[in-house]
């Protein structure tokens, strides 16, 4: 049965990708990207990767199409006919060669799903067998993410922080070309989105509440700081879309978001420095409490909080930077 679902999902993915190659016009492309994200998230669920599926659904089907839509709102949705001739031939050649190399690469691979493959027998079993005793939380992905490979996660938080810095640097104080166009397109008569606003008011508190649930439930089920941050930010963005950028900027001013983004990274980093000052290796949580398992719990809680704060504030800040291109806010 699972094989059947796999095949259906993979076929749908291929169909979506082919449609993306064929389709012209940016709005349609963005919608297909979103569909692609949602389909791959479903595929991840059938593969047992629930945490990844959660993130992909929030990012691939949510945030990244949203950013694309903002961009298209500024630059327009038209796409010129693709290049033909030499460019097409060259690209096809490159793709075929790369693809052939990949196919050759797959020929010596261990079979799909085999439990005896090296990937399943070398390092991974340690996590599955030992994390229960060493970390003491049921979600192994969170254990690996926040303790065994916490340094990667610090890197990940820095990547998102870097993205925030980069977007603000690039978009700061540039012109606001698309402003008039978008406002005309959505609300020509200036009437407010009454129905949307009412429903939004009902839903947004629950979205934010759900974000907190995901934040603190990450040790027991799928979830964690990153997903929580994305959900929280999407609640804020929804509010901004319905009530306008100036309103949401009054609640959460952009400079505050920038400070919070840095603070989140610092919470994570300084947790590691704390171990350093106590003579343990960087990010060794054992110095945080007497009992090693409790120490791991505290460490994971704190760094997940740092991740959540940074992700939520960076995504909000990126939203501000893009939305500012459409309608100049207070900054």
């Amino acid at each position: 049965m699972e094989v059947l679902i796999d095949i259906v999902l993979l076929s749908l993915l291929v169909a979506t990708a082919v449609a993306l190659v064929m389709v012209r016009g940016l709005i349609a492309s963005i919608m297909l990207t979103s569909v692609y994200g949602l389909l791959s998230a479903s595929f991840f669920v059938t593969m047992g990767a629930v945490d990844v599926a959660f993130t992909e659904a929030a990012v691939g089907a949510g945030v990244s199409p949203l950013l694309l839509l903002f961009t298209v709102a500024v630059i327009g949705r038209k796409e010129r006919a693709p290049e033909g001739g030499a460019v097409l031939v060259k690209s096809l050649l490159l793709v075929v060669v790369t693809g052939a190399l990949l196919i050759v690469g797959t020929l010596d691979m261990p079979p799909f799903g085999s439990p005896d493959a090296p990937a399943q027998t070398h390092v991974a079993p340690y996590y599955l067998q030992q994390s229960g005793a060493e970390i003491g939380i049921p979600n192994v992905v969170t254990s690996v993410l926040a303790s065994y490979r916490a340094y990667d996660t610090l890197g990940e938080v820095l990547v998102i922080f870097t993205a925030g810095v980069a977007v603000i640097l690039i978009l700061a104080s540039s012109s606001h070309r698309g402003s008039a166009r978008l406002r005309n397109a959505t609300v020509p008569d200036g009437s407010p989105h009454t129905i949307l606003q009412v429903v939004g008011k009902i839903l947004i508190p629950f979205i934010l509440l759900f974000a907190f649930y995901v934040q603190f439930h990450g040790e027991y089920g799928p979830g964690g700081g990153f997903q929580a941050g994305v959900i929280f930010a999407s609640g804020v963005i929804l509010y901004g879309l319905l009530f306008g950028l100036p309103t949401v900027c009054r609640v959460l001013p952009p400079p505050v978001m920038e400070v919070l983004a840095a603070l989140g990274v610092l919470i994570f980093g300084l947790t590691g420095v704390m171990s350093l000052l106590n003579g343990a290796p960087f990010l060794d949580y054992s110095v945080l409490a007497d009992d090693p398992v409790t120490a791991q719990h505290i460490g994971i809680m704190v760094i997940e909080l740092g991740v959540g704060i940074t992700v939520a504030s960076v995504i909000t800040a990126i939203y501000y930077a893009f939305a500012n291109q459409l309608e100049p806010g207070p900054n």
């Binding site: 190399l101 990949l102 050759v104 690469g105 797959t106 020929l107 010596d108 691979m109 261990p110 493959a117 090296p118 990937a119 399943q120 027998t121 070398h122 390092v123 991974a124 340690y126 996590y127 303790s147 065994y148 490979r149 916490a150 340094y151 990667d152 610090l154 890197g155 990940e156 820095l158 990547v159 922080f161 870097t162 993205a163 810095v165 980069a166 603000i168 640097l169 690039i170 700061a172 104080s173 920038e258 400070v259 983004a261 840095a262 603070l263 990274v265 610092l266 980093g269 300084l270 590691g272 420095v273 171990s275 350093l276 343990a280 290796p281 960087f282 990010l283 060794d284 949580y285 054992s286």
Partner: protein
């Protein structure tokens, strides 16, 4: 605290960057960034001497030993690259103020330094880590900040250059990710040392070959090896002057390090017959890069762009050393990595000073610059001489070892080509000398207007280092020799 040494050079800018973002005043941000970079450099020096004396330093992050956790594993090669990157990084940040204040708008200066620190942290993280996936993460930190830094250039073409770099860089990074995925599938581990042990046991495998191919292509995109160099001239030319110095002196060096690390520590040289053929490919591409880069540089009307193409050529020299595939070749490659950072650091920084005073890097506007900015021009020429490889300068040492390595393999044609390539370098450096000193002045009377003191000091220091390492070359030569020996002797740890 000594046991914490391996992580400190990376950690300082890593934590320093968000802290720097909290500082609201640009001057404060600059002072803070300099402080962090200098501290990181001091830690690296100390780490370097420790590694020199005591051998490989390992550090288990989070207290989890490799392969379960992420491990820093500093051998001579890592230490050398860390030393170059953090040293040049600190020097450039110290010299940057005047140029940044001129080229970057007031509201962006603070965050500009945050991005610089992030880039530095990313590059140092790549050079220090012993985990393949961690390398990818830090690669992305440095790349993302670099895209933003390049886009800060004064001209609208900077945006396009940054976008092209983003597309090429991300394709490269994704290729590396595919390669790492294949490696993980084959061996079940991500630690480079563990990979190096388990991969040969897998025997001849097409998956391993595909993994290597993807990693090499991905890294070469970052390295800007011909013909994957297309993003480099645009990015170098359009970026703010200081960013160009930083990129030219550090980021390609780190990419070369990654290539060497994967080729020798992870895959080992002899893992496949096909990899032997790859050596020939490296040499061929290196030679083409030397000639194509140099020839374009000779006819370029813009000095900054000319130097960018010269970088493509110099990367060619380093890859030739790698392709020769002997201890001597690798040693030459590493020495050139070290020396080239000094040369290009001095050249581009002096150029940044010219741009600061003249406002353009066009040859036509640089006429008589030798009388206007005598010290900076002298430093530029000195570094240029080193780039050519005239005896008495650092550049001579690298060319000498490269020639020796080629001679030891009886590759006389290659030897001739290396020498001819160096002559081409002389042509474009001479062109600058001619413009700076001999050509008649423009219509206005030239007044002496030297670069600001902080900048000048660093320029002169870098130029003098080119001279110093030309006479006393023990540091790069012995380190590179030791590192090459360790890599090829089968004793990579």
């Amino acid at each position: 605290m000594l046991s914490q040494l391996p992580v400190l050079p990376v950690l300082l800018p890593l934590i320093g960057a968000p802290a720097c973002a909290l500082l609201r005043r640009p001057t404060l941000a600059w002072v803070f960034a300099c402080l962090v970079a200098v501290l990181a450099f001091l830690c690296t020096v100390s780490l370097f001497t420790t590694t020199w004396q005591e051998g490989v330093q390992t550090y288990a992050l989070g207290g989890w030993p490799s392969p379960w956790g992420i491990e820093y594993r500093i051998d001579l090669l890592n230490a050398l690259v860390l030393l170059v990157v953090s040293g040049i990084g600190a020097a450039i940040l110290l010299a940057s103020r005047a140029s940044v204040w001129q080229e970057i708008g007031e509201t962006r200066r603070g965050l500009f330094y945050v991005a610089c620190l992030l880039c530095l942290a990313g590059l140092l993280g790549i050079a220090a880590t012993g985990d393949a996936f961690n390398l990818f993460v830090f690669l992305e930190i440095s790349s993302l900040s670099t895209y933003a830094l390049v886009a800060m250039g004064p001209d609208r073409r900077a945006l396009l250059a940054a976008y092209n770099y983003l597309i090429m860089g991300t394709i490269g990074a994704t290729f590396i990710l595919i390669g790492i995925g294949f490696l993980y599938m084959l061996t079940g581990t991500l630690s480079m040392a563990d990979l190096g042990e388990r991969l040969p046991a897998m025997g001849e495998s097409r998956t391993a070959f595909a993994a290597y191919a993807f990693i090499v292509v991905g890294v070469c995109l970052k390295l800007a090896l011909f013909p994957l160099h297309l993003w480099l001239p645009g990015a170098y030319t359009r970026a703010p002057s200081i960013v160009t110095v930083f990129l030219a002196a550090t980021s390609t060096k780190v990419a070369l390090y990654v290539l060497i690390r994967f080729t020798y520590s992870v895959f080992h040289l002899e893992f496949s017959q096909l990899a032997q053929a790859l050596d020939t490919v490296f040499i061929a591409l290196g030679v083409i890069a030397v000639f194509a880069g140099s020839l374009v540089a000779i006819f370029e009307a813009d000095l900054k762009r000319g130097l960018a193409y010269s970088s493509v050529a110099q990367i060619g020299f380093m890859v030739i050393g790698l392709g020769i595939g002997t201890v001597e070749g690798l040693q030459a490659s590493l020495i050139h990595l070290f020396n080239h950072a000094l040369m290009k650091g001095a050249l581009f920084l002096a150029l940044a000073a010219f741009i600061l005073r003249v406002g353009s890097s066009n040859f036509s506007s640089l006429r008589g610059i030798g009388r206007r900015m005598p010290l900076a021009t002298a430093a530029f020429v000195l570094a240029g001489i080193s780039l050519i490889g005239i005896p008495g300068t650092a550049g001579f040492i690298s060319k000498w070892y490269l020639v020796l390595a080629a001679a030891a393999q009886q590759q006389w044609i290659l030897l001739g080509l290396i020498l001819a390539g160096s002559l081409l370098t002389a042509v474009y450096i001479w062109r600058f000398v001619e413009t700076a000193y001999a050509e008649p002045e423009g219509d206005s009377v030239i007044q002496r207007n030297e670069a600001p003191l902080g900048m000048l000091l660093v320029i002169v220091l870098l130029a003098l280092l080119n001279l110093y390492f030309g006479f006393d070359s023990r540091l790069p030569v012995e380190t590179a020799g030791g590192a090459a020996q360790a890599l090829l002797g089968g004793d990579a740890s």
